[in-house]
Amino acid sequence: MDTILKFTSHHQGKDRVFRATQFACALSTYLLRTNTDRTKLLSTLKTLEANLNAGRKVFRLGNTINSIQAAKRSLQLSDRVLCLCLTAAHVNRALYFFCDNVLWAKSVGLIRDTNKVSWSTGASRCFLLTLIGSLARDIYVVLQLMVQRARDGHFRQKMIRHLNESPQVAEVIVPHLDAFLFLLLESLKSHPAVVLDTVKNFCDLFSPLDKLGIYPSNSGVVSLCGLVSSVIGIITYVNPSLSIKP
């Protein structure tokens, strides 16, 4: 009940559920596109997706300010790399929200003479740069964790035990690769928040890459990745310990 309340009483929780539903509708539409018996269901799913999309755009009005404040906070971080990655990500997110707000104003008729395509492309570019900044931060955090682990004496013993246990062909040929993978997996196992954030950002990449034509994929792939990232977003909202900090 408490979890349900957490979702219903705060817009961020509702927004994540709506995002997941939106991508679920898009995925279902893609999977049912060839099915001629379900035209009514298809049109219902499309209408629902469009309504959720339009509603979420209104939700996002004013998020530019929130992102600018987050960017100001991240400027004060002591770690220079983290400071750079996060500030760049937040600034780009603020620009993305601004483009999104302009697109909303155009869709309701508040602004007339604007080039929808150029603003949409701008929004996708800003979103892509946000994701690149976030992924750079994830990679940096993983590398830091690996360096920390490698220095740990207890872990070194574990590594030696692992390398001696399995004398397989691949391991003999590329011992460094096996050691690297072992170090990577052990570091990631101890910090699930980093794993979740990396997977989320990676899944989110497909949407702007497809829209900008850099890596075209079909709407099914984009919807599936969007759904996975939305579900991860819901998990981190329900369990804040799984959310990466800062």
Binding site: G55, F59, G62, V108
Partner: protein, 257 residues
């Protein structure tokens, strides 16, 4: 900017801002119609109003749960009148949100062949009941405060000059009717003075009373009980939304419980 971040982090904050925008559009649409503005502009304003209304319906999905939780909390209040008013008020609000969610499903095409008018009337009826209960609570609190203020005044001032009419008025009057009217008007003036004092000293109660009084005209108009027109409804909705935003910015202005 910090203030906006803190404000928008509250649960109902953005919804209130959009409510303000929606009723501002209603009022604007009415003024544009009266002043004979272009149809295109009127269409844009009415389209924006409909868009805000549908988005707010989307935002309200799941609010029934919150209202039921509030009703559960209100059952434990010690004062019986408050307990009754608040519990029933929250239950009616929960029913209103449920009907509102059904209306959203109908408007977005999830539920086909929905009688929009019937469900809309139903939702406004529950909203009206909730507002009547809130106003009853306000009047009850006001009554309690006026009584305690009157007792306080009576205890402060000496008994000889305690609110009774001066004797010359009574002795100069010849007929009983001529005595009754000054007594009634004096009593009215005293009650009015008490009312103004109590409301002046209790801004949360004043704001809540004003807010509910403005809000009640909306369902009264939509249900056809007391039609006032879209201009008046827009102005009332706008006023109550602004007052509600004020109570969010300054939480001490919110009436508790």
């Amino acid at each position: 900017m910090d203030a906006w971040v803190r404000f928008s982090a509250q649960s109902q904050a953005k919804e209130r801002v959009f409510r303000t925008a929606q009723y501002a559009c209603t009022l604007l649409g009415y003024t544009l119609q009266k002043s004979g503005a272009s149809t295109e502009l009127r269409k844009t304003v009415s389209h924006l109003e409909a868009h805000m209304s549908l988005t707010r319906k989307l935002m309200r999905l799941g609010n029934s749960v919150e209202a039921l939780e509030a009703a559960k909390r209100a059952i434990h209040l010690s004062d019986s009148v408050l307990r009754l008013c608040l519990t029933l008020g929250h239950l009616n609000k929960a029913m209103y949100f449920a009907c509102d969610n059904v209306l959203w499903a109908g408007k977005t095409g999830l539920v086909s062949k929905l009688d929009q008018h019937k469900w809309s009337q139903r939702s406004f009826r529950y909203y009206l009941f909730a507002l009547i209960l809130n106003l009853t609570r306000d009047v009850y609190e006001l009554r309690l405060l006026m009584e305690s203020e009157a007792r306080y005044r009576a205890s402060k001032s000496p008994p000889s000059s305690s609110g009774s009419l001066p004797d010359e008025h009574l002795s100069s009057a010849s007929a009983p009717g001529a005595v009754a009217l000054p007594i009634v008007s004096f009593w009215l003036r005293r009650q009015l003075h008490l009312l103004v004092t109590v409301l002046y000293n209790n801004p949360p109660l004043l704001l809540d009373l004003l807010k509910n009084s403005c809000d009640i005209f909306i369902p009264l108009d939509r249900l056809g009980i007391y039609p006032t027109g879209s201009g008046f409804v827009g102005a009332c909705g706008l006023t109550s939304s602004v007052l509600s935003i004020l109570t969010m910015i300054h939480p001490w202005l919110k009436l508790k419980p």
